[in-house]
């Protein structure tokens, strides 16, 4: 095998290098080198898997889509993984020869020694000592070597596997980095997908159910007014219509709150400043808002900031018994900082999702999903401060 790989690779490499002066001519040979090296690498890896039981993954990093073939060639040709592969193929000849020889020897020598007594009559007349002693030595030697054979062959096989793994497999650090990058990519895709889904839900709610509910409420309101004008209407009928009207109005308000919770349209259209104002206006505790954003942050960061403040204000209204809340938002050098402080009784706890302090836990996870930093300072007796920092490279 070493002969094949060695010849192929070294020849092609030599040709590529010598033709490098004329770039145009060299290119097809470089391509040939890279491709055949990769193919041979695959063959070697399959061999290792089949004969040595060692699974090795391809070391070559996946190339992004939409690259011209010349750029792909350039990337592959200059990658460390390709050069390690070529190195392996070149080494395979000398190393392969040695290991092959050793393996053959390890097997054949004991066999020969075992057969020595049988072959002895056919050997040339040498001084091998007296027959019984010679036989004993030969047998003993054969036994020892036979015991060593599997050990030697095993070591050779392990060495072979190690060579394949280190030169044809992915570099340790590179493998981990590639994995982390893949995870990050899929997480970003997930966060974006969730945001898109929420936007769609809000739009559907607005265009569909919310509109219809308003139409129902309008009809009921008009019916109530007409009933008022007519005499001879039983009070029960009027009461029923009025009750229906009130329920419809309450449903409209609730649905609107749900829609806002899913995705606040004002955030999308008018930005963080306006959206926070509307949150503050709805909070029963007086809120002071301080926004310092020289430019509009990216959507994902804006959304997280909005939800942080929304959740924080909800908590303050429900638990804190505070008289004043201050919200500060500032954007500096690719980072968005949010600070919500209330003068309430403190003792807030970031608990498990769904339980006490679940809202804050949900916030913490949401902040983490965009690589942000989240901290709650809430000594018993107050005050409570929620601090969040989000990266917003655009």
């Amino acid at each position: 095998m070493g002969i094949v790989t060695f010849t192929t690779v070294v020849t092609l490499l030599a040709l590529s290098v010598s033709l490098a002066i004329t770039v145009a001519l060299a290119v097809p040979f470089v391509w040939l080198t890279v491709v055949s090296s990769a193919w041979l690498g695959r063959v070697e890896r399959s061999r290792a898997a089949a004969l040595l039981g060692v699974e090795v993954a391809s070391p070559h990093a996946p190339l992004p889509d939409g690259m011209g073939w010349l750029r792909r060639l350039q990337r592959r040709a200059t990658a460390a993984s390709t050069w390690r592969e070529i190195g392996y193929h070149a080494l395979l000849l000398p190393v392969g020869t040695v290991t092959f020889s050793l393996a053959v020897a390890a097997v054949s020598v004991p066999v020969l020694m075992l057969l020595l007594p049988v072959l002895q009559p056919f050997a040339p007349r040498d001084d091998l000592g007296t027959l019984p002693l010679g036989l004993a030595v030969a047998l003993a030697g054969a036994l020892v070597l036979a015991l060593l054979t599997p050990v030697i062959v095993g070591h050779l096989a392990r060495f072979d596997a190690w060579l394949v793994r280190s030169m044809l497999g992915p570099a340790k650090g590179a493998e981990l980095t590639a994995r982390v990058e893949q995870v990050e990519r899929s997480r970003t895709a997930l966060v974006d997908a969730v945001d898109a889904e929420r936007r769609r839900i809000e739009r559907d709610l607005h265009d569909g159910a919310q509109q219809r509910l308003v139409a129902v409420a309008m009809d009921l309101g008009m019916a109530k007014a007409k009933l008022d004008e007519q005499s001879g209407v039983t009070p029960e009928v009027r009461a029923l219509v009025e009750s229906a009207h009130n329920e419809a109005r309450r449903a409209i308000t609730e649905l609107r709150d749900v829609a806002r919770g899913v995705h606040p349209a004002i955030l999308e259209d008018r930005g963080l400043d306006a959206a926070l104002s509307s949150l503050a206006a709805r909070c029963p505790v007086p809120v002071r808002i301080d926004v310092d954003l020289p430019e509009r942050p990216p959507r994902a960061a804006e959304a997280v900031a909005y939800y942080v403040v929304a959740e924080a204000l909800t908590n303050v209204a429900k638990h804190a018994q505070a008289t004043q809340v201050t919200v500060r938002v500032s954007g500096r050098a690719g980072r968005l900082g949010i600070e919500v402080t209330d003068d309430g009784r403190g003792g807030a706890v970031v608990g498990a999702p769904g339980g006490l302090g679940g809202g804050l836990a949900g916030l913490r996870d949401r902040v983490a999903s965009v690589d942000g930093w989240f901290q709650v300072l809430s000594p018993v007796g107050g005050p409570t401060t929620i601090l969040v920092e989000l990266p917003c490279a655009s």
Binding site: V214, A215, M218, G221, A225, R249, A265, D269, A274, V287
Partner: protein
């Protein structure tokens, strides 16, 4: 009362036409975008027009821009803007040209039929009708926190209702107190905030809002 309606959501538009017709108004035109609105208003010169903030083609702020055009060209036409959410800055833009004949309400308020009709009539006769939420937002953002803090809780309630454009009678009804009490509160507010008391509802809305927004 002659009304022009500009609303692109078909269901809501039909509902508004019916609601206003029921209340005795004459709906002279019901259109679905800003261009047609301006045409209709120029042609019919209604008492009031009801305008959705977002309309085709871009669904951002066509309504507001058309409303401002109408305010400057035809100041006698009242403009009532309906929005999915209230934004303090739109209110500011609308109020910049004066507070007579201007309204800014959440679409949901349409469901409070009697109140909505009242708001439309108020705007048609030159008064003001601001959504409680936008008033809250303005008050939240008010930098003049301390004098407002000097008001009693009841006075703050009256202040908010005044800013919405309600008359003393309406305030009395909403808070379930006598009109005389309302008048006393109003005077006290004006004194505490250092504003000139004025008999006209419109001017006082403007005064209050201007005060809060500086």
């Amino acid at each position: 009362m002659r009304v022009v309606i500009a609303e692109d959501a078909v269901l809501l538009r039909a509902g508004l036409v019916r609601l206003l017709a029921d209340a005795g108004a004459e709906v002279v035109a019901a259109v679905g975008d800003a261009e047609l609105l301006l045409d209709a208003v120029r042609r019919h010169r209604p008492d009031v027009c009801i305008v959705d903030v977002r309309m085709p083609p871009t669904h951002t702020d066509e309504g507001i821009r058309a409303a401002l055009v109408i305010r400057s060209e035809l100041p006698d036409v009242g403009v009532l803007v309906l929005s999915q959410y209230v934004e303090e800055r739109y209110a500011g833009d609308l109020l910049a040209a004066g507070s007579s004949g201007i309204g800014y309400l959440l679409k949901d308020r349409v469901a409070d039929v009697a109140e909505f009709v009242d708001a439309v009539q108020r705007v048609a006769s030159g008064g003001a009708a601001l959504d409680p939420e936008v008033v809250m937002q303005i008050m939240v953002r008010s930098r003049r926190r301390d004098p407002v803090a000097a008001l009693t809780a009841r006075e703050r309630e009256v202040l908010a209702l005044m800013a919405e454009g309600r008359s003393n009678t309406a305030i009395a009804r909403a808070l379930m107190i006598g009109e005389g009490s309302v008048e006393k509160h109003v005077n006290s507010i004006f004194v505490k905030l250092g504003l000139e008391p004025d008999a006209g509802d419109n001017r006082r809305v403007l005064a209050v809002l201007r005060y809060l927004r500086t």
